[in-house]
C-alpha cells in the first residue's frame, strides 16, 4: 500500500527533519510512505495554538487521521509521536497506522465479500502464481478464510491475519502458497515442517516480506499445491528453506504491531516457560533482555516493561511471538525476584561495553 502524509504547524527545522527522516526510514516501513503538501494523514505540532486547533477540529470531523506531535501527550491523542522525532518511534507509529488502515480496509473487504461474492477473495491475484503447474495448483476455497467476525484493531487476533492462515494450514497438514499484493511469496510444507521463500535477512526484512507478514487474512491469496510442485518451484526459484517456527515467530513479530493477543489479560502474571530457541527464532538484543527477565520473574507485562525499560509495544510483540511458540506460562502469583538489586553504574557500563564490542562481531 502507498500512504501519503503531510505535516502542519511544525517548526521549519522539524519539518525538514521529518521529511528527510521519512525518506531514510522507507526501507524499514511495511508500506510506502510519501510526503505530500496535503494528505489524509497529518502530523500536527500540538505545542502550537494553531496545531492544537487543527487537531481538535480534525478529531471532531474525523475526516483526517492526525498524529499529535509534542513532548507530552497532553491531549490523550490516539496517534502520538513524541518530540524530538526518533527513528524507532516514527517507524512504529507509521507501521501501526498502516496496520490500522489495512485492518479497517480488510474488515470492509471481508464484510463486502461475505455479503456479496465470497469466491472473489483469493482469485484476483491468481496470475501471480501463474508458473505453478495447473494440475497441482488449486485456489483455496473461501470457507478457509474467516469472514464472519469484525477485525479488531485493539487486539491481535491471529485468525484474522496471515498467522492464522498458516496455523490452520499446519493443523490440516496442507501444502500451500501464500502471497499478497506487492508482497513476498512463501510456500509452507507442514509435512517437512519447513517453509520456502526468498532469503530472509533477519535484521533487515524487505518491504515485501513485511507487507506479507503483516497482512490481514483477507489480503492474502492462498493456493494449494503438491509437495512435488513445491520442490520444483523452490529449485527453479532458488528459494531458501526455514523452520516453520522461524516463520511463525517472524510473522507474529511483524503482525501484532503492539496489540496484545486477544484473550490475554494485560494484568495477568506471566513468565517464560523456558529460554526461547534463538537459534531458530530470530531475535534482537532487546528480546534477550526481556527473555532474561521473564525467565526468572512472573509478573504483569506492565511490570516487565518497567523493569526492563523496553517499550510496551516491543514487549507485546515479543510476548505474542512467545505465546505462539508456546513459551508462556500464566501464573496466579506474582514473583519478582530481581527488583531490589539495581546494578551499579560501573556494572551497567561494563555490560554495555561488552555488548557493544560483541555487536561489532556480528
Amino acid at each position: 500500500m502507498h500512504y501519503k502524509i503531510s505535516a502542519t504547524h511544525l517548526s521549519k527545522n522539524d519539518n525538514v527533519f521529518f521529511k528527510s527522516m521519512l525518506q531514510l526510514i522507507q526501507i524499514q516501513l511495511n508500506d510506502t510512505w510519501s510526503y505530500e503538501e496535503t494528505a489524509d494523514i497529518v502530523l500536527a505540532d500540538i505545542e502550537t495554538p494553531l496545531g492544537v486547533a487543527f487537531w481538535e477540529e480534525s478529531t471532531q470531523q474525523q475526516d483526517k487521521l492526525v498524529i499529535a506531535y509534542a513532548r507530552q501527550n497532553t491531549c490523550n491523542a490516539e496517534w502520538f509521536l513524541p518530540k524530538p522525532i526518533r527513528v524507532q518511534a516514527l517507524i512504529k507509529q507509521l507501521n501501526a497506522i498502516a496496520t490500522f488502515k489495512s485492518t479497517v480496509q480488510g474488515a470492509v473487504q471481508t464484510s463486502q465479500t461475505s455479503e456479496n461474492s465470497p469466491s472473489s477473495i483469493s482469485t484476483t491475484k491468481a496470475n501471480l502464481l501463474g508458473n505453478i503447474p495447473n494440475n497441482t495448483a488449486q485456489q483455496v476455497k473461501p470457507s478457509d478464510i474467516p469472514t464472519n467476525k469484525p477485525v479488531s484493531i485493539e487486539y491481535f487476533e491471529p485468525e484474522h491475519s496471515l498467522l492464522g492462515l498458516i496455523q490452520s494450514t499446519i493443523k490440516k497438514c496442507e501444502t500451500k502458497c501464500f502471497t499478497c499484493e506487492q508482497g513476498e511469496t512463501i510456500y509452507i510444507s507442514p509435512q517437512q515442517k519447513r517453509c520456502f521463500t526468498s532469503k530472509i535477512n533477519f535484521n533487515h526484512l524487505t518491504q515485501k516480506q513485511r507487507r506479507l507478514y503483516a497482512s490481514v487474512a483477507a489480503q492474502v491469496t492462498m493456493t494449494n499445491l503438491s509437495e512435488d510442485a513445491l520442490h520444483q518451484m523452490a529449485k527453479a526459484q532458488g528459494l531458501e528453506n526455514y523452520a516453520v517456527e522461524t516463520l511463525l515467530w517472524l510473522v507474529t513479530l511483524c503482525a501484532s504491531q503492539g496489540r496484545l493477543m486477544a484473550g490475554v489479560a494485560e494484568n495477568s502474571y506471566v513468565r517464560l516457560k523456558q529460554w526461547p530457541n534463538f537459534a531458530v527464532l530470530p531475535c534482537q538484543p532487546v528480546h534477550l533482555r526481556i527473555a532474561a527477565f521473564m525467565l526468572k520473574n512472573a509478573t504483569t507485562l506492565t511490570t516487565v516493561s518497567e523493569k526492563t525499560r523496553v517499550d510496551f509495544s516491543t514487549l507485546v510483540d515479543f510476548f505474542n511471538a512467545c505465546k505462539v511458540a508456546d513459551l508462556i506460562v500464566e501464573t496466579t502469583d506474582q514473583n519478582v525476584s530481581t527488583e531490589a538489586k539495581p546494578k551499579s553504574s560501573a556494572e551497567q557500563y561494563l555490560f554495555k561495553n561488552i555488548l557493544k564490542r560483541l555487536s561489532s562481531h556480528e
Partner: protein, 176 residues
C-alpha cells in the same frame, strides 16, 4: 573490577577451544597435548590440559578475558581456579557425546556454588551430529530441578552462535 573474565567449560570435544578461537582477537593460547586416555583419544587427537586463553578489547581499553577449562574431570582443580572471580560461566555440552545429560548434570553440580551468586548459560553443541536428546529433554531436565537458565543449541564454529551465548549471559547478569 580488576579482571573481567568469562569462562567456557563443558565436556571433552564440546567446542570450548573452538568457541574461544572464533571470537578472540588474539591467537588463542592453548595448552593442549596428545590425548592419552582411550575415551578422549576416541573423540579427538589433542585435548586441553590446563586452559585456553583468548581476549577481546573493549572500547575503553579494558580486556575481556576468555578462559576455557579442560574438559576432563581429572583436571577439575583447574575449573575452580579459573572460575574464581569470573563474570559468568558458559557451559558447552556435546550432544554427540556418550551421556550429554550426565555431562550437563556434572557441570551444573560442580559449579553450583558459583552459580548461586553468578550467572551461567548452556549451549548444546553438535546437534547436527546427534539430534537426541532433543532440546525438550534438556528443558524438562531443568524444569524438574527448578533451574531457570538459558539453554539453546549452538554451533561453536559460528561467531553468531558464540556471540549469542555471551549476549544471553550478559542479559541474565543484568537482571540477576
Amino acid at each position: 573490577m580488576s579482571e573481567i573474565k568469562l569462562v567456557f567449560t563443558g565436556s571433552v570435544g564440546a567446542g570450548k577451544t573452538t568457541a574461544i578461537e572464533i571470537i578472540s582477537e588474539i591467537p588463542v593460547i592453548r595448552t593442549d597435548v596428545r590425548a592419552t586416555d582411550s575415551e578422549t583419544a576416541k573423540r579427538k587427537e589433542k585435548t586441553t590440559v590446563a586452559m585456553d586463553y583468548g581476549e577481546l578489547t573493549l572500547e575503553d581499553g579494558q580486556k575481556l578475558r576468555l578462559y576455557g577449562t579442560p574438559g576432563q574431570q581429572r583436571f577439575d582443580y583447574m575449573w575452580r581456579i579459573l572460575v574464581k572471580g569470573a563474570l559468568g560461566l558458559i557451559i558447552l555440552v556435546d550432544n554427540a557425546g556418550s551421556d550429554p545429560i550426565g555431562d550437563l548434570a556434572r557441570y551444573v553440580d560442580n559449579f553450583r556454588d558459583f552459580v548461586s551468586n553468578n550467572q551461567m548459560v548452556v549451549g548444546v553443541t553438535r546437534m547436527d551430529i546427534a539430534s537426541e536428546p532433543d532440546m525438550d529433554f534438556y528443558h524438562q531436565y531443568f524444569a524438574e530441578r527448578g533451574i531457570a537458565l538459558p539453554i539453546f543449541p549452538v554451533d561453536a564454529r559460528s561467531k553468531t552462535s558464540v556471540v549469542m551465548l555471551i549476549q544471553s549471559l550478559i542479559a541474565m547478569l543484568e537482571f540477576s
